[in-house]
């Protein structure tokens, strides 16, 4: 009797793992297919469309893809992406940390109302504001520069403010109080007490900010006109320029290349990412 329950349990476990692995393969197929296609020759991409194993590993697609368009290579596009993403990510996280501290620990008149305003803006999607914001940046003469993509980042992001606030709330008040007794003002408390204690929240915010900026397509599409300013996301679209014959292999190769930084970050920081999503309950 004991044996049968045990075998039954084992069978159940095997079925479970087989099922989950089959599901994982199914879910993973598109990614593996993309990587495989980036090594295929032009004709193989179409004749053996579904196969996951290229007949031979060809790096040509990466070489031709990297050459880019006209005089702009993917070295430029990647450099642009990194500059925009780093500057914007720094701005988003630094400003959000300041604001989060203000809302979480300092008591000032009108706090409740302003906090409600901030939560409301979390629900207003940016796309609704794309027309007037474009007109604003156009009036400032910022179109066709990186400024519209970077400058607004320095004004706090409600989602990160909220995330960091949750974290600050977990820091015991006694720490603030004892620092106050030692003669620390609110500013010093922020830099010496709060900041060192919210590093995990800052890392989580950094990862999300990096992802969203790296993937951002609408912003560059609206504000950048000259190709030498393009980030990778916008450059990838140039492959499907209707005026030219699409080099699918090169397009796949550069698509894979564009995902590499994202993947590296994921591998290094997945713990923070998972925690960030789980605690705030927002999308990633």
């Amino acid at each position: 009797m004991r044996l049968t329950t045990k075998t039954r349990k084992n069978i159940g476990s095997v079925v479970y793992h087989l099922f989950v692995i089959a599901l994982a393969l199914f879910v993973f197929y598109p990614v593996m297919w993309l990587i495989a296609s980036s090594f295929k020759s032009h004709s193989e991409i179409f004749t053996e469309a579904h196969s996951l194993i290229p007949s031979e590993l060809r790096w040509e697609n990466y070489v031709t893809g990297w050459k880019g368009f006209g005089r702009t290579t993917f070295a430029t596009f990647f450099k642009n992406s990194f500059i925009i993403t780093f500057a914007s990510t720094f701005g988003q996280v630094a400003s959000s940390a300041l604001v989060a501290y203000g809302f979480a620990r300092v008591n000032f008149t009108g706090k409740r109302f302003l906090f409600a305003c901030m939560i409301m803006t979390m629900l207003i999607p940016g796309q609704v504001l794309m027309i007037p914001q474009y007109l604003l940046f156009n009036a400032l003469g910022w179109v066709n520069s990186w400024r519209p993509l970077i400058v607004p980042s320095f004004f706090g992001v409600p989602f990160f403010i909220f995330l960091i606030m949750q974290f600050i709330r977990g820091i015991p008040y006694e720490l603030d109080e004892s620092a106050k007794i030692d003669g620390c003002g609110v500013y010093r408390i922020f830099f010496y007490i709060i900041l060192p204690n919210i590093v995990p929240a800052l890392i989580t915010s950094t990862i999300f900010a990096f992802y969203w900026k790296w993937e951002d397509f609408l912003g560059p599409l609206l504000y950048l006109q000259s190709a030498e300013l393009y980030p990778v996301s916008l450059a990838l679209r140039l492959f499907s320029d209707p005026a030219a014959i699409t080099d699918w292999g090169a397009m796949f190769a550069m698509s894979v290349a564009s995902l590499i930084p994202v993947f590296i970050l994921f591998v290094l920081f997945q713990k923070y990412l998972v925690e960030g999503i789980s605690t705030t309950g927002l999308k990633g």
């Binding site: 604003l136 007794i181 993947f263 999308k283």
Partner: protein
């Protein structure tokens, strides 16, 4: 209080003094200094643009010449003459109301599978999240287009299996195009899955124990314990994902570009075209305001009805 507290000798401040007016004032200043980045940005990049776009929605404006007041004409055109307005609304609703529930369902099933205490679930969890990491990137959109292309992998598989003899134009078929976009959304179920997993961990084991003693089946445990306990999280996700679903843009632009026959003309894509292809900034602003109103109504409905299907542990929900 001292002007420069850092130099003051360390002595405790009496409570009464701390609540004094001067202290409050200084706190006010500090508070506003800390939140000033957000406050300035909120005015500059949200409130002023919103009011500006409300004004523009009553004008005709092509950027080159100054806005001309036309009253309600934009809204009238929208509701009476512009067939693309109802079309894009229909498409967007169709997309959001299929993609979001399916994605959440998929996420829930996987979360239930992966919440079991078994070997390797941590690894599985990571694996299933990977597609969502790549989620919104152009690379994935480009890939999706090829996957569903006439010469793409899906047709290739179906032909190899002998299901079809000739490639199907998934992206060009008026009835199939939108499903390729829905499929992409469902494929990125990673974030809701993680949130559900976190929620499942919160459910007290004693509830399941009690059910076990009562002889409840796994199915009954799912229906009477897991789902009700998880419902606040499901509700929250539904709301957030719904708004995201309505804002879908990039994938529609890259994968189907609104076609065929405007069957995938997502609302934001339509705003974009009106604004940046036709340069009808006034009309595009009016479209954006309608969207804002719809999102507001939707949010209100979801909140109002939530009490019927969301279970809060304190019991106030019912």
């Amino acid at each position: 209080m001292e002007k420069n507290p850092s130099l003051a000798p360390a002595k405790p401040v009496p409570r009464k003094l701390r609540k004094g007016k001067k202290f409050k004032n200084r706190n006010n200043l500090a508070g506003y200094i800390f939140i000033s980045p957000w406050l300035v940005g909120f005015l500059m990049f949200t409130i002023i643009p919103m009011l500006w776009s409300l004004y523009l929605s009553f004008t005709k404006y092509d950027i080159l010449s100054s806005p001309r007041w036309v009253g309600l004409m934009n809204y009238e055109t929208m509701f009476k003459y512009d067939y693309l307005f109802p079309q894009s609304l229909k498409v967007t609703f169709q997309y959001a109301f299929t993609a979001v529930p399916l994605r959440l369902l998929f996420a829930l099933i996987l979360a239930l599978l992966l919440s079991q205490k078994r070997r390797g679930v941590g690894l599985y969890r990571t694996l299933f999240y990977v597609p969502s990491v790549f989620g919104g990137s152009i690379a994935v959109a480009v890939m999706w287009r090829q996957l569903f292309g006439v010469n793409g992998a899906l047709n290739s598989i179906l032909m190899a299996l002998g299901v079809i003899e000739e490639g199907i134009g998934w992206l060009t078929g008026p009835n199939t195009a939108i499903w390729t976009l829905v499929a992409l959304a469902v494929w990125q179920f990673g974030s809701p899955m993680l949130i559900f997993l976190a929620g499942l961990k919160q459910i007290s084991f004693s509830l399941y124990e009690a059910a076990m003693i009562d002889g409840a089946s796994s199915w009954q445990k799912l229906i009477y314990i897991t789902l009700p306990m998880l419902s606040p999280i499901i509700f929250f996700n539904f709301l957030v994902q719904m708004i995201n679903g309505f804002m879908m843009f990039t994938q529609a632009l890259i994968i189907t570009n609104g076609g065929p026959f405007n069957r995938t003309l997502m609302y934001v894509l339509y705003i974009y075209r009106k604004g940046f292809t036709d340069y009808s900034m006034g009309y595009a602003s009016a479209l954006a305001w309608i969207m804002l109103v719809i999102i507001g109504i939707l949010t209100a409905i979801i909140f109002k009805t939530s009490s019927y299907w969301v279970f809060y542990e304190t019991g106030e929900g019912k």
